[in-house]
Amino acid sequence: MTMTSPNTQHVHWDLDYDIHLGETWGRFMDGLRDKKIYANTGGSGKVYVPPMAFCEESFRPNDTWVELSGEGDLEVFTVVWQGFRGGPKPPYAIGGIRLDGADTLLMHYIVGLDFSDPAGIRAQLPQGSRVRAVWAEERSGQILDIAYFEPAI
């Protein structure tokens, strides 16, 4: 630990984790590797993507899997102009997508916006615009196997 100024001391956390996926997210990630987007349901009528092992409302297990098409409505998005240390280089856009057949929103990158006109960005993709998933060339079973969503004309 080094002194940075008379009143502060530099403190560093260096934590490495192996985060367990569990069976539910594990199945979802395996699906992504195969260019499939799986949602689950069964605890109630609500369809979850990303999937959850249980329905929060009914408190019963979600034991039924459905495959989604990868297309949906862009319900909301933001453009990040200032990011954070260790994060992607701005500007970048993140949206909440209601995939066809799902009740939850999937959060993901939105690509295809013209960032040169900040004031006009919202008009480029009005609420409810159709978007579709674009797959990464190399996939290894993680959320970024979907590279991003782009406008689907």
């Binding site: 909440g96 990158y109 919202r122």
Partner: protein
């Protein structure tokens, strides 16, 4: 038997930026703890326990409360309870203390919120670690990015202009300029806000909270135990919390605070509030980002859907109006983490006790509403109703 719980003392330190702060985390906590005890006229050894909020990943210390509470001058043996629910921790502290006291196992409990963000080099990076791991965290969202979704959705739903969000910021800064305990005490213009550095659309820098350092504390006691203290306590009439789904994508509608609306109904029923606008004399909501305040006021039934900004613009929500809101300046002007989240409860209790700083005091406030929110995508909400224990003057 069980007991009623009251707030018998509050303490809050002055606030400034981490860069300008000369006191340490522990020193600020010491000041706040002793200020609350001093306000109540209670001795440190009359405390039965202390409830502290820690958000470890933001503080660079695991369960900092464990050793910090032993450095406050309250003795080495005070039982410590550490609550960590992210942003709602502040309000939760009071809820935990209230139940300890109501059950009869404790008669005096101190709640303490420290300057959580003090020392973090890149707060947005720290906040990214609470974005749901694996499925949402890789998407590069920090605090204000997550907040921006609701701003975007609200804007689209009610055709809100940037100037409208700016009006909220102008109002908060005007109020904070009068509060001796606020951090940002300068006033701003609509242009200042609209032309501020863009952060995450539609939010600009002036629309989001600062990183402040301050601490605050609250003494919760049984109504009985407060009789030997020197303040006129505020009864904790009702308190509740509610949780939205874990994944950001689990919310139904980003343009309305459904979770808060549900919670408000529950807490109002507990407190027999049937006409919130007229029943309350003072309100403090936790709105660190400009769009949140009108949305919260709408969910709390204090104005119609889409009319939040109109109300905030009007004199009715300022001091002297029919329902003053965020006279402290809110977290838009002072946000010290857990201290920031406990602050709305502190300010409203202070008002109900008749002791709020003169510059922001609402005379004869009998019933008040305090609100907190936090967590990824502001997943958690909490709410409390306070009532005066003295007759209307």
């Amino acid at each position: 038997m069980a007991y009623q719980a009251v707030v018998a003392g509050v303490g809050i330190t002055e606030a400034t930026s981490p860069r300008k702060q000369t006191h340490s985390f522990v020193e600020l906590c010491q000041q706040a703890a002793h200020a609350a005890l001093e306000h109540a006229g209670a001795s440190p050894d009359s405390l039965d326990a202390i409830v502290v909020g820690d958000i470890d990943g933001f503080e660079g210390t695991v369960l900092g409360a464990k050793f910090q509470t032993r450095q406050l001058g309250l003795g080495s043996d005070i039982p410590v309870i550490v609550v960590n629910t992210g942003g709602t921790t502040g309000g939760n502290l009071m809820q935990v203390a209230a139940r300890m006291v109501r059950s009869g196992t404790h008669s005096r409990v101190l709640c303490l919120g420290g300057p959580t963000f003090f020392g973090a080099q890149d707060l947005q990076a720290a906040i990214n670690t609470n974005s749901p791991m694996i499925v949402e965290q890789p998407l590069g969202m920090g605090g204000f990015h997550m907040g921006a979704f609701a701003a975007s959705a609200y804007q689209a739903r009610y055709d809100i202009k940037l100037e409208d969000f700016a009006a909220v910021v102008v109002a908060d800064h005007t109020k904070a300029s009068k509060n001796p305990f606020a951090h940002l005490r300068y006033t701003v213009t609509i242009d200042d806000v609209v032309n501020g550095t863009p952060l995450s659309s539609p939010l600009t820098q002036p629309m989001v909270c600062p990183v402040s350092t301050s601490a605050c504390a609250m003494l919760v006691t049984s109504r009985q135990s407060a009789q030997t203290l020197r303040t006129s306590p505020a009864l904790i009439k009702a308190v509740g919390t509610s949780g939205d789904p874990y994944l950001g994508g689990g919310k139904g509608d980003f343009a309305a605070m459904e979770n808060l609306a549900i919670l408000a109904r529950r807490v109002y029923a507990m407190a027999d509030i049937r006409d919130p606008y007229n029943d309350f004399d003072v309100v403090e909501v936790f709105a660190p980002y400009a769009h949140m305040q009108p949305m919260q006021l709408e969910a709390l039934q204090l104005c119609e859907a889409g009319k939040g900004i109109e109300f905030i613009r009007s004199a009715e929500s300022h001091r002297g109006g029919s329902l003053p809101v965020n006279l402290s300046g809110g977290p838009k002007c002072t946000n010290a983490g857990v201290a920031g989240e406990l602050a709305p409860y502190i300010y409203v209790a202070w008002q109900i006790m008749g002791d709020a700083p003169e510059e922001i005091r609402v005379e004869n406030a009998q019933r008040g509403l305090a609100h907190g929110t936090g967590g990824t995508f502001f997943q958690f909400e909490n709410l409390a109703v306070f009532e005066s224990t003295t007759e209307s003057r």
